[in-house]
Amino acid sequence: MKIEHFKKSDELHVKLCGELDEKCSTYVRTYLDELIDEGGLRRLYIDMSALSFMDSTGIGVLIGRYKRLKPQGVSIFLQSPTKAVDRVLGLSGIYDIMTKAV
């Protein structure tokens, strides 16, 4: 798992590359939380175009970040998920609380 990110004013852009499962869930969670803790966010964009695999562990990571960011009024956008990841996201109902974006 490789993660890239950049900040643009009040937007945080994160790109997840590789496979997200139990093995790297702590790394992803910690990486995101450290950036979130810096504050000043209004939108979090998670680029999933290079995420080739994700199981329900990833859903747990996303919901955990949602619970942290919702009280701060930060919106989360899931960008360009691959077909396999999109199927897991759709089944979980996560698109009810996060926006699927191109």
């Binding site: 496979e19 499962d21 139990e22 093995k23 969670r29 695999f53 199981d55 329900s56 562990t57 859903i59 747990g60 990571v61 919901i63 955990g64 077909k83 396999a84 199927r87 897991v88 089944l91 979980s92």
Partner: protein, 150 residues
Amino acid sequence: MKNKMTLTFSAISENESFARNAVAAFCAELDPTVDEINDIKTAVSEAVTNCVVHAYPKDGNEHTVTVITEIDDDTVHIVVSDNGVGIDDIAHAMQPFYTSKPEQERSGMGFTIMESFTDELEVTRNEPQGTVVSMFKTIKGGAVWNRKKR
């Protein structure tokens, strides 16, 4: 045609990727679609993750997970088993969003995904202890090309 593969490995998260990719590779002879392979990989990953996260206490001892994959014509039968603590109420544990570890940000979607991504899912107690997850999936494969002789 019948074929069978048995894998036994340590119940650690490093082996989740190995397990799902090994089962996917074993099924490749059935010429599955990309979607079918992804479904199998995801279902196997969920079952193995349950063993790694829930089956065994973190006591420093080595625990194992066994994955048996059988191919019978166009059907794949995958059995993931452990000898861990078992599940007290299996029907309750299979409810969507149920998790015994909410403090760990678990989604509780594991069994729901296994059920959705395979044709048949059965969860039973292992003897003398532990859990057995049995999944069937029929591989329909890709498009059939029609040929016409001149």
